[in-house]
C-alpha cells in the first residue's frame, strides 16, 4: 500500500476539504485546482459541511481488492448541499434504509486496511442523517 498517497489525501478524506473558485464561486470536490465551470484557477480551500442527499446508489457484492471484507456494501453518488457530487460508501445501512433523495451526512470510517500488519486507511462515508434535536 502506498502510505504517502493516503497521507496526501487526508485533508479531503477526513474533513471533506475541497476548493472554491474565486472567479465564479463554484465549489469543487475533490480539489483539482482548476474550476470545472469557468476553467479559472481554483486554489482556495473550502471545507464542505458534509451534508447532502443520495443522487443514486447501488449495492456491491463483488468487491474490488482490499474491500472484500466489507461486501456486500452500498455505494452512492451523494449530491453535497454545496453542489458537487461525490462517490462514496454508505455505512450503517441495510437494504430498505436508503432511497434516492435520502438525506445523508458524512462520517469518518475505516476505508480499508493493509492486511493484519499494514496501515489502516480512514476516510469519508455517508449515513442517513442523525439530526440533533433542534
Amino acid at each position: 500500500m502506498e502510505v504517502s498517497r493516503h497521507w496526501r489525501l487526508q485533508k479531503q478524506r477526513y474533513q471533506l476539504v475541497g476548493e472554491t473558485c474565486d472567479n465564479c464561486g463554484v465549489k469543487l470536490f475533490p480539489p483539482r485546482d482548476v474550476c470545472l465551470e469557468c476553467e479559472a484557477p481554483a486554489y482556495e480551500l473550502f471545507t464542505f459541511a458534509g451534508t447532502g442527499e443520495v443522487y443514486s446508489f447501488t449495492t456491491v457484492y463483488d468487491a474490488p481488492a482490499g474491500f472484500e471484507g466489507m461486501a456486500p456494501y452500498m455505494m452512492a453518488m451523494v449530491k453535497l448541499d454545496e453542489g458537487p457530487i461525490v462517490t462514496a460508501q454508505l455505512t450503517d445501512v441495510w437494504p430498505g434504509d436508503v432511497e434516492i433523495g435520502t438525506r445523508v451526512e458524512m462520517v469518518t470510517r475505516k476505508l480499508r486496511t493493509d492486511g493484519d500488519e499494514g496501515m489502516i486507511v480512514y476516510g469519508y462515508k455517508f449515513r442517513p442523517m442523525l439530526e440533533a434535536i433542534a
Binding site: V107, K110, I120, A132
Partner: protein, 355 residues
C-alpha cells in the same frame, strides 16, 4: 492549596464547555449470547449490548464523539491544546489514535496528543489531566475522550457486556462552561482483578474477585472521600453516575452510598448498551447532561481494573440549555439500534478466522 487535601482542585476554575456521546448502531441481545453458550440457562447482566460496525474502531468512534463535543462548544479547534484518547482497544499497538482524531477535527499541529490506558478508567484519567492542563493555564481547551470496542472471549461471562461506545468531554475555562468541576479525586491500589497481556486477544479476570476487593472497594472508597471532602450527602446531589460493567454493580454501589434509582436513571445505560469500558462512566454523564437543569449537582465515579476510581463533583450552569441541542443526545444514538444475530456479531467483531 492545602497540601494534605486529597481532592484535586485546579488553580484556575475549569469546567466542561462541550460534550459528545457515541454509540454504534448495532446491538446483540444478551439472550442470543446465552442461547449460544448455555442453551439460554440463567439470567443475563444486561438486556443488550452495542456492537461496532465492520468499518468502526476507537479512532472513528472518537472522531464522531469529538465532533459532537466541538459542535456543542462551538470553539475553534485550533484553540485545543490537548487531544487525549483513553481506551483499551486502540486500533494500533504503536501509533497514536489521538493524532488521527486531532487531524480529523482540525486541531493539528499546535496541540498535545496522546493515548491513555487504565482499563475502564482511561477516559476519566484523561479528563483529570485535561483539568490540570487547563486549570494551570497551560492551555485554554483540552479534549478528553474515553472510547472502547471492548473484547470479550466467546462464552466468557464478560462476552455478555463487552460493548462499543464512549464520549468526549471538552474541558475549558469555568466562565464558558456548562458544567463546573468543583474537584476530582483518584483512589488507586495494585489489585489484579482483570488484565490483558500484550498480544493477547481477550482479557482474563479473577471471576468473583472483580466484585468486593476491586469494583466496590475503589468506587465506594473514591465516592466516600469525595462526598466527605465536599461536605455532601447523597441527598444533596441531583444525579449520580458510576462505572457500569453491568446493571447490578453500579445500582448496588449507588444504593450503598444512599442514592436512589431515580438519581441514577439517566446515567445508567449499561442495560441497553452494555459496558463501554473506558467510555462507560462518561457516556453515562452525557446521559445526565442531556436532561440536567442549571444548578444541578452531579457525582461521577469511574472504575478501572488494576485498579482505581476517579471521582468528580460537578455543578451544572445555565449554559447547559444553550449547548445541549447542538448535537445528538445519547438517547438518539441508543434509539437508532439495529439488532444483529450471534453469527453477524462474530463477523463484525473479527472473531471469524479467514485464513
Amino acid at each position: 492549596m492545602n497540601e494534605n487535601d486529597p481532592i484535586m482542585r485546579p488553580d484556575r476554575p475549569v469546567g466542561i464547555v462541550g460534550y459528545g456521546a457515541y454509540v454504534p448502531r448495532y446491538r446483540i441481545a444478551a439472550e442470543s449470547i446465552s442461547q449460544m453458550w448455555t442453551m439460554g440457562a440463567g439470567g443475563t447482566p444486561v438486556k443488550e449490548k452495542s456492537v461496532n460496525s465492520l468499518d468502526e474502531d476507537v479512532a472513528t468512534m472518537s472522531i464522531e464523539a469529538a465532533r459532537n463535543a466541538m459542535n456543542r462548544a462551538q470553539i475553534d479547534p485550533q484553540e485545543l491544546r490537548a487531544v487525549w484518547v483513553g481506551s483499551e482497544s486502540h486500533p494500533y499497538a504503536v501509533k497514536p489514535t489521538s493524532t488521527i482524531v486531532a487531524e480529523a477535527i482540525g486541531a493539528v499541529p499546535n496541540t498535545q496528543a496522546a493515548d491513555w490506558e487504565f482499563a475502564c478508567k482511561a477516559g476519566t484519567e484523561a479528563m483529570q489531566a485535561a483539568i490540570g492542563l487547563v486549570g494551570s493555564g497551560m492551555g485554554k481547551y483540552a479534549l478528553a475522550i474515553g472510547m472502547d470496542t471492548a473484547q470479550g472471549r466467546p462464552g466468557d461471562a464478560l462476552e455478555y457486556t463487552a460493548a462499543a461506545g464512549g464520549a468526549a468531554i471538552l474541558i475549558g475555562p469555568a466562565a464558558e462552561s456548562a458544567v463546573i468541576i468543583n474537584g476530582s479525586y483518584s483512589f488507586v491500589t495494585d489489585t489484579p482483578d482483570f488484565w490483558r497481556r500484550e498480544h493477547a486477544m481477550y482479557p482474563s479476570h479473577g471471576d468473583r474477585f472483580t466484585g468486593e476487593p476491586a469494583y466496590f472497594k475503589h468506587v465506594l472508597g473514591a465516592a466516600e472521600v469525595m462526598m466527605e471532602a465536599m461536605n455532601m450527602t447523597a441527598a444533596d446531589y441531583d444525579w449520580a453516575v458510576f462505572h457500569q460493567p453491568n446493571v447490578k454493580f453500579p445500582s448496588r454501589a449507588g444504593q450503598m452510598l444512599g442514592f436512589s434509582a431515580e438519581q441514577m436513571k439517566p446515567g445508567l445505560l449499561a442495560g441497553v448498551i452494555g459496558n463501554t469500558y473506558s467510555g462507560s462512566s462518561i457516556i453515562g454523564l452525557t446521559g445526565i447532561l442531556d436532561v440536567a437543569q442549571p444548578g444541578d449537582r452531579i457525582l461521577m465515579v469511574s472504575y478501572g481494573s488494576g485498579a482505581g476510581s476517579d471521582a468528580f463533583d460537578l455543578s451544572v450552569t445555565d449554559k447547559i440549555d444553550d449547548i445541549r441541542n447542538r448535537a445528538p443526545g445519547v438517547q438518539q444514538y441508543i434509539a437508532r439500534r439495529k439488532e444483529i444475530d450471534y453469527a453477524t456479531y462474530t463477523r463484525y467483531r473479527g472473531k471469524i478466522k479467514m485464513s
